[in-house]
């Protein structure tokens, strides 16, 4: 008995996890549960990257998404309180229209996508860290530097946006 059945089974389980997590984020009323299920989606996505042979990308996925972005979103959830007025439906007024529109666009794309790319992905790779690093630092050095500046701008912007006004500074500004 060979072990060939493992890859499709693992793929099926992971894809169920990914899609169930995504649907849960969209449909759940409790935001903290939605945030944790989003983290579960990210973990299953990392599993799919490993299945595709890209272990380095999987490690980065967990490090950045589960380790940092989920915590940021949880902070955002904890510091804001969704209104609990009686009219607090969690979905907007245009829900039925949006659902029809998305289904109309999604179904053809999914069907066409599945049918046009038959044949197995042939090469195992993408987990090769030296090749990836060489590429980033030689061919793509300019986008890398721009990305660093972007991160710096994002950090400074986030700090400036969330700074509370110092009462002494506000008094000085008013006096001027």
């Amino acid at each position: 008995m060979t072990f060939d059945f493992i890859e499709p089974v693992v793929f099926a389980l992971l894809s169920i996890g990914v899609i169930a997590g995504g649907v849960a984020v969209v449909m759940l009323n409790r935001i903290t549960a939605a945030a944790l299920l989003m983290a579960f989606t990210f973990l299953c996505m990392a599993g799919m990257f490993v299945l595709l042979g890209a272990e380095t990308i999987a490690a980065f996925q967990v490090l950045i998404y589960v380790g940092a972005i989920t915590v940021l979103i949880l902070y955002g959830v904890m510091f804001t309180k969704f209104s609990d007025s009686p009219r607090a439906l969690f979905f907007q007024k245009q829900t039925p229209l949006a659902a029809i529109f998305v289904a109309a666009v999604a179904v053809p794309i999914v069907v066409v996508g599945t049918l046009s790319f038959t044949g197995a992905p042939p090469r195992a790779g993408g987990g090769d860290l030296p090749a990836l690093a060489t590429s980033v630092f030689t061919d793509f050095a300019f986008p890398f530097e721009i990305a660093s500046v972007l991160l710096l701008a994002a950090m400074v912007g986030a700090i400036v946006l969330t700074r509370r006004d110092d009462p002494d500074e506000a008094a000085m500004r008013r006096r001027r």
């Binding site: 990914v18 299945l51 890209a54 245009q94 999604a106 790319f117 590429s135």
Partner: protein, 103 residues
């Protein structure tokens, strides 16, 4: 029997459109941000799957994925900063109620 490329594309597309529906349909700004992250993840999955089939030896597909990670992280940070500072002004996080820029 290995998994065909179309299956990965199907999962990526379904996840992308789920996130898209979430952005159009939910009212909480933080949940909209979460759905945008889902869309970015779906794009990453499609990139990695294609990079495995058509990729070259210098891993250009994976480089693109790394840059998408960087941009997604920066976007979440700034997006949450915007939401929190708007929340400090008027404590609502419901996009139906903060769509007016006055006040």
């Amino acid at each position: 029997m290995t998994v065909p490329l179309g299956a990965y594309i199907a999962v990526s597309a379904v996840l992308f459109f789920t996130g898209c529906a979430g952005v159009l349909v939910r009212r909480n700004a933080v949940v909209i941000l979460m759905c945008v992250e889902l869309m970015l993840n779906a794009a990453n999955l499609a990139l990695v799957a294609f990079s495995r089939k058509y990729g070259s030896i210098d891993e250009r597909g994976s480089v693109f994925v790394v840059f998408v990670f960087v941009i997604a992280a920066a976007e979440v940070a700034v997006g949450l900063g915007i939401i929190l500072s708007a929340y400090r002004n008027r404590p609502v996080v419901d996009v139906d109620e903060i769509h007016q820029m006055k006040g």
